[in-house]
Symmetry: C2
Subunit: 415 residues, 2 copies
């Protein structure tokens, strides 16, 4: 295998998670070890930082602070939602990226994100290849949605799932405290895949979970929903706890959240969601005449690093460091994936999959895991998800508050 | 001092907290030790359980499960919002309470709650005295609002404050991730007292706090608010983080949340709040034309036991056990209060205050602690609040999820 000497460039993209910075730490720590690596750059705001040559010099950071990234939520270098145009339509961005890569002698490029980011990563990889610019490109997976194809699960999912299950148990205790009846409708993130909403069912293993769970994998019917809630309300003195995905749609494909507002769309053309709990709470209040409380887990579910899964943090870190190792070994045009081993105790191996195969393919919850006439989740899901949320992070504190990484963020002079 | 032999009765009342069950544990564990105590009853749904003779036999519980109450959020025996009518208007409930106390030989009564609950406790205490029924009555303080008079702080507040500060830091990281600008408006609980909203300012000590904080202690002016946000938006590329109390009112005394909906009122006549973040987000979006995200900490802030303050958990437990000790020593008609010692390291003593003095007096944030033209919180608040949120709870887990107490809840046969 040919040894390739040059600079490493790393970027973060898409929605934040509790552990995306753990992957960054993995990339940086591993890259800093290698003699082949001349520079370690962090792009500010992902692809935008590349286009605008906004780089941080990661060699200037203290190792101890880089390691604190493991417990620092969100994307410390800044994230971006920027869609590269199709090459055949507009080559401008691609040319610019090649120009910047050449200027900084970037020979290793790591992009950390979900579906859209892997699409970006794939496009860049293919373009550089077509121009015979030698650069090893690796995708590092990340998404609380857990919807990336080809990997057992995605870094970020487990910590969000642990937040959802833990908080659901706490909320269960709270909303069952009065004898006067309360319907609580909790909205969980997940655009097209219900993995995170399904995680609410883990709370049921401890007797403190939702009575009804609705995933976006099935068409949502408001009348059936009202009937489902009515039935539970009768059995449980109007105390009903519901978990619902933000992305539920009716059989015409219309988002239920759209029933209230016109939807805004992000730059990938995805509908910007939120508010479905509020919409459904209004309907239940009107139809059943009971007290209803809508709750959104909002940003908290994706940045709740204080309740992160240790397994997730370690795997996210390893995903970053393995990406660097694989690239240094000569691999390119791949994403790091997790393969669950067929062992008694939970174990994964870190493998690779072609970026082509990953990009823009969404992995949803198997329909056979959705039970109870579309309102429950099967034991198979618990068997799948429980190992992922194990382990308590040794979360560093200072004055009783989180001690996040304090990076110097030394800017690289533009060439 | 005369020794009094008889049954102990304990009830929980008002809104749940992360540590109200810790006080219950304190009461039960201490009561179970004493030879003077013939029975230990837990009232189901507070005062309603007394009126309806719905008691649990706490002597039937395992000690290990009672101790797990220290880490089990919300009110395990069930809570209630029930207002005793003024005695001169209707004696029915009072007569019934006396009847039940006599029937079960209740000689020790502990009521755990906030302002309204202390009013209830006080009324019962005075009525029993007027009827020469010997019973030692003690209030055990509880409220995330921290608005009880005569105590340095209230059990429940610190854990909620820790949730607010920690989550605010995490949200700060999340909502500053894009370079496209986002105004985030976070709504924090607190009807008339801004203690909990002020806790968001602790996140500023770590550089990850809100730009603007609004407490209910000051009249809220929507035009000034728009100006404040506009100013920060100009300085910070439209990235603005705001913490706002659910209870803010305009100078006519009208809740800002009322601007959108008609308010429902609870049985104490308090307006049921929520939605102010949504109201203000709509205004900002319209006036500034920027992206805005409203966030409600909702039930999570008061039941987030997984991030509870160890100091709070221990103090809540001690508040319960001290109430029992004081009552056994002959004290009655008091509430347990915390007095901060004038020592270098944080230390409190557990004292008592007449129920008369506590009931229905609200303690609000000193106006001189509100700085920066009504948008900031002074260092005095940090000095006050920081010691309270210290310590990490040894939170028991099972399968990676909280291991809450599992009580048998053996019902006492009605006499």
């Amino acid at each position: 295998m040919k040894q390739l000497k040059g600079a490493v460039l790393f970027g973060q993209s898409g929605g934040p998670t509790s552990v995306i910075n753990a992957s960054a730490a993995g990339v940086f720590v591993e890259a800093l070890k290698s003699d082949l690596v001349t520079e370690v750059y962090g792009a500010e705001h992902g692809i935008r930082g590349i286009l605008e040559e906004n780089f941080f010099d990661m060699r200037k950071e203290d190792l101890s602070e880089l390691l604190l990234l493991k417990n620092t939520p969100s994307s410390e270098l800044g994230s971006v939602r920027y869609k590269l145009k199709a090459l055949e339509k507009d080559e401008t961005d691609y040319k610019r990226i090649l120009e910047v890569f050449e200027k900084y002698n970037i020979r290793y490029f790591f992009y950390n994100g979900g579906n859209d980011s892997m699409d970006t990563c794939n496009k860049i990889s293919k373009y550089l290849q077509s121009k015979n610019y030698e650069c090893r490109v690796m995708g590092v997976p990340k998404t609380i949605d857990n919807d990336l194809f080809g990997t057992d699960h995605c870094p970020g999912f487990a910590s969000a799932a642990k937040y959802v299950a833990t908080t659901m148990m706490e909320i269960y205790k709270d909303c069952h405290v009065y004898d006067t009846g309360l319907v609580t409708v909790v909205e969980v993130m997940g655009r097209n895949a219900g993995w995170l909403t399904a995680s609410a069912s883990l709370a049921n293993l401890k007797g403190c979970g939702p009575d009804l769970i609705y995933l976006p994998e099935l068409a949502f019917d408001v009348e059936k929903f009202v009937q489902d809630v009515t039935k539970v309300a009768k059995e449980k003195k109007n105390n009903v706890l519901v978990a619902i995905s933000e992305g539920i749609k009716d059989k015409e494909g219309r988002y239920i959240s759209e029933y209230a507002n016109d939807l805004k769309r992000d730059s990938f053309g995805h509908a910007q969601l939120g508010g479905v709990a509020s919409v459904l709470s209004g309907i239940i209040s009107e139809r059943l005449g009971v007290k209803v409380r809508p709750i959104e887990f909002s940003l908290m579910q994706r940045c709740g690093a204080h309740v992160a899964s240790k397994t997730d943090v370690e795997e996210a870190f390893n995903a970053g460091s393995m990406a660097v190792k694989y690239a240094l070994e000569g691999n390119t045009d791949k994403m790091v994936v997790f393969t669950r081993q067929n062992t008694k105790d939970y174990k994964i191996s870190y493998d690779m999959l072609d970026l082509d195969k990953v990009a823009n393919t969404e992995k949803t919850v198997p329909l056979e895991w959705i039970t109870n006439n579309g309102t429950g989740i099967s034991q198979e899901f618990a068997d799948y998800a429980l190992p992922l949320i194990q382990g308590v992070v040794d979360f560093p504190l200072e004055d009783g508050l989180p001690r996040f990484a304090r990076l110097k963020k030394v800017r690289v002079e533009k060439k």
